[in-house]
Symmetry: C6
Subunit: 280 residues, 6 copies
């Protein structure tokens, strides 16, 4: 059967359970926040599972509610306007519901990824959605929409690289319960790499060790550590028969730095570690 | 009966009395300003009840007037234009009244939340509404509208984080009577938390104490104290059986700071206080 | 009879004589400038009566001319464009006359309030209106309009808070005769407060004294003195039975400063003065 | 007969000879430049007669050519776009010729007033008009227009307040012959004031002296001297019976400075001079 | 037969094998990344073959897949918006698929050249395409598109001249495997020049030497070394009989620097080297 | 016969041979670059003949090819967008080809004058036109256009006043062969002035000497030397009988500097030189 490649935004949500391993009680907290209609904020470095967690929880909520409401993801950026979220009139005269309005009307999960990138007018849209009013005013339609009970509001960002000018205002922050994310523990990360890259435990363990070394170099030339996702990519290359050193260079080291000095200083250490785990 | 989830802006106002506890004579002042048609400015930190107060007063005015006029809330931001307030022509040729025009024509309460975020052209719209002329010129319609007697103009902002560049001009400020808001007293805050989180008095008192400790840390690493709203969120988690420390971290501490140093220094103190109030 | 709440811009002008007390010969100067078709510039602090003076003169000109031409007020701001003044085509294909074109065609009084806030392209529109050509070119219509004899051009601004970057250019300034405004003398201010707030002379005198004290604090923490309008607001509260100190705080002191230090230092002095004039 | 108050841009030019007194051979130079099709640049302080000179020359060219071509004036500013000059499609589908295209097609005089205020894309429009190609490409129409022989290009600006960032580029400047303007000599200025203000010679001479004093104060607090236009305004007030000191304050001193210190230091000197010429 | 000069974007891909010489195992890595659906990032100086490599790989993938899917190249720049990538409604009411949507729907290769030049909203479009979701949300259509198996995402940039403000964020970088490009070895470069310029080996070798000298001057006045492309241009001129020194000046030295000092210091060295290889 | 004053862009090219005197082998270089389809970059100060050279070469190419293809000139500036070059849909639904698309489709010469003024998105349009792909993608049409053999791409700029922020990127520069222009030699310049101003050799020689003196003052107060064009203008004035000193002031000195100090210091030297060549 041919796979479906096209959905309406109002119908899009995970149809099978996404793979997610709990790290530190975050599932319970998210469920209670959902039950109490408190918006949820996820904070942590890139590639540590925040977006996957949202997909997983959206799936759970749908299972629990016994009906499918959409997971509406908005990737925030500087040029995203309030109208992009709420909707606008088409030239045809029809009003096109924006993603936030879709989520409000359908009672789905509205997820603003990298919310600190958004401009104030985006942020402001979620203020009345994020307190006990749970409303969104769509001036273009001359209407006020109240979110149904199944609606929930989620945001995420990486506090590691906020610039002062891009920090969220306290009036925004103080609408949320916040869950701090970090890299998974070595055991959990090993299991994730094994499953996602399709490799053996020993190889996955070696990659976990290599990841830890790279993360230690953060601040010593590297602006950010390597995410679990990069370790999985390296694992996939190794499975395909590419030499471990080439795989780790291309998948882990090359992507994360352009700085020649940083590259060199980290590269030699990486090569030694790779060789120690993958003797030729 | 199914709850109504969709209103016209021109018909939206609280239909039951919002919960509001007076702090310091603000109800009387607001009522006299309304009677004398003096615009009202609310100043104070985030989450201390300014918006709730507006909802409460809108409800009272409607009760007193014996008819329902709308509460029109505009969340101000940098990209809000004069046309967003006044209205614009749709492609269909119909003129769409903006929220300020709706409030003027219907004689409702126009509330500009976080007014300092607005640009000068938004502010300028309210100048002739805010003096004895009480008019709004809508150039697009070629018309001048005078506000009916029930119309009133309200603005709010948090003086704590105004940047110099975003301060209101004196020609704006000197149109208003101003009411200064602050966190409620401990007794009042305890009652609010009990009612809103559905918890016992002793738990609410403990949270009030914790809130006071956190507020003391303002300036010592924290940019702003925790609002009553956050204490309520923590109360809700505790009611659901989440451990008080986890509840206070997720609901109070995690949302308000991204600064690693500030987090650590406040966290230990918080943990001690939480344990002293909630011995395990 | 129900009051009219909606006018065409081209028909809006004061229909009864606005209350205005002359301060220093400004009426004569304005009348001769009008007779000689010299544009008029009003300079002075906020709330000292500039806009009221324009309304008053517009009423006088209409009386003198024996016919009613509009008073067209434009509140200037950074986003006001030349097209906002001149007009634009609607989607329907109709050309919508902007406020400046309305004033030119109808021979009314065009008043640009806070003109220094306007961008250069607004200012430039008034250059050929402000010299002996008295013309406005409307490129969109492909036309040049000459103002009839009853047309006059007025601008106002507060020289107290011009930033260097926002100063008018000499080529603009040197088109105008300029009248400097200031706070009225104590006697005149007392009469104004009595009349506008509906209070007795002694109360109005006390408020005039309080206003003078606050104005003395300008520069010592306060960015601007309190305008007559604020004293009137305080008078209204006192008439309604609110205690003079509360009235003066809410109407005079709270609106004009957000600075905690300035607030405190002025507040104590204010309280003493209020008590000396209104012994309890 | 009722005066005509509305023209097409393509038909607007002075229909009687504007009053202009030659200062320093500029008429001859302008005529030869016109004959040789060299664009003309006028440089000098505000109010010294640059725009009047353009009107005068336009009238002369029309007389000489024996036919009337338009004088098209564009007041330059930061928001003027290339399309504003060239033209654009209306919603009706009709192409609206911009002022520059009108001047090119009709062979008129195109005058860009305060050209340094324009953005690069305006300037660039005149480059191919300002060399021997004498063409303007209108991309929207897919056409290239060559100017007829009677077309001429003029620009003016005040070199006194150019900011570095707003200076014309050499590639623009080196397309023009440039005529430097300054304030007229005392004798000529006296005659201009007499004629324009309708006053006697002795009064005009006194105002010329006062103007010279004020111009000497340039740099000592004043950013620019008083133009002839301001002296004329003062003359008109004096003719109407306003006291010379009040007239000079309102017409000359008040408009040109907002600086309190500068005002005071110049004011006393001004008062002495006025009294010496107009003893009461 | 007349050559085809016009294609649909959705049908454009190389129809003969582009000339490409492998430098360092990059073909294998790119093939495995394609097989594993990992996005590919190419990093290196201008003119070292990155874009040619993409054309070559697109041809290979089409050969391997046995069907032709498009190579969609987007040259990134600051003004490229998300809508430019996704598509927009035409005035006719038809939706015009943007290049990214074309590539997603057709399962082609989407190549963002100089990706660091793009704004955040462009970058954000590729985030969900660049992880295991492989989706693109087109809000204007209210739809979510999932990329078919043959789709792949490629980006390139020159890490040599990133400004801090234009660096990619880690959340973008950590979606890719990265291949570092550099200038080819002398032998390979000689072969490339011979083939592309149509010259003999000895001439090509001389140009390779000259290129190496120029590259050594990087940092000593030159901001970047000469690319292989410039050496090819010089080769073409020499083949046409232009003197080697003139050819090298015009093709190699003149284009790469405007700095007079740098020009002179490099020029003399260049002249000596050219003469040594091409004795007259 | 009436001269044609209006062309389609797609048909505009010089119909008689433009006057051009070769300076240093640039014709040969340009012809070979054209034959090899290498884009050409012209660098040099304003008014030294770059644009005239392009017109001359366009004429030659048309003569050589035996058919007339258009010369499409685009004067670059900051607000020129990619769509301005490629084209856009009109409201009528018709697509209007932009100048670059016209040149590509007709196989003409596309000349971007002052290319450094253009924004990145303009520059990026020419990247795929400027390498061996010779294509332009027009996203609005969903099409890729390949340039026919007669198409060529030319750019010019003045390296003398590039600001760092406006320099072309190496990835742009390294697509071109570059020809450096400068002022012509004295003999050639004399001939040019004679021919263009219609004056005798001795007068032209004197102006050449005066030009040389002024160019020497570059850096000593003058930002740029006087171009040949200005010397021609002076020559024209002298031919018309204007005194040489007045002619040189108006045509040469006045246009190139606004700086009072620079003006004075250069003026005296100029006057001496003029007098020595034109004794009265």
């Amino acid at each position: 059967m041919k796979k479906q490649l096209e959905w309406k935004i109002s119908e899009y949500s995970p149809d099978s359970e996404p793979f997610y391993m709990e790290v530190n009680g975050e599932i319970r907290l998210a469920e209670e926040a959902y039950a109490e209609k408190i918006p949820v904020m996820l904070k942590g470095p890139t590639g540590c599972g925040k977006s996957r967690f949202v997909q997983y929880m959206a799936y759970r909520f749908n299972q629990k509610n016994g009906r499918r409401t959409p997971l509406v993801t908005v990737n925030c950026h500087e040029d995203l306007t309030a109208d992009d979220l709420k909707g606008r009139y088409l030239l045809s005269g029809k009003f096109e519901d924006g993603p936030a309005l879709v989520a409000v009307k359908k009672g789905g999960l509205l997820y603003l990824d990298e919310v600190v990138e958004a401009r104030q007018d985006t942020i402001v849209v979620i203020h009345p959605l994020g307190d006990d009013r749970r409303i969104m005013t769509v001036e273009r339609l001359g209407k006020v929409f109240e979110a149904p009970d199944t609606f929930s509001l989620w945001v995420s960002y990486n506090p590691g690289y906020q610039k002062k000018t891009k920090d969220l205002k306290q009036s925004t922050k103080q609408r949320f319960v916040a869950i701090n994310f970090s890299y998974p523990s070595k055991d959990i990360e090993t299991q994730i790499i094994m499953k996602e890259a399709g490799i053996e435990q020993s190889t996955a363990q070696a990659l976990t060790q290599i990841g830890a070394k790279i993360r230690n170099a953060k601040g010593k030339g590297l602006e950010e550590g390597a995410s679990t996702r990069l370790l999985i990519n390296a694992g996939k290359f190794i499975r395909k028969g590419i030499s471990p050193l080439v795989a780790c260079e291309a998948a882990i080291l090359n992507p994360i730095t352009d700085d020649v000095e940083a590259y060199r200083s980290v590269h030699d250490g990486l090569a030694d570690v790779v060789r120690s785990f993958f003797p030729e």
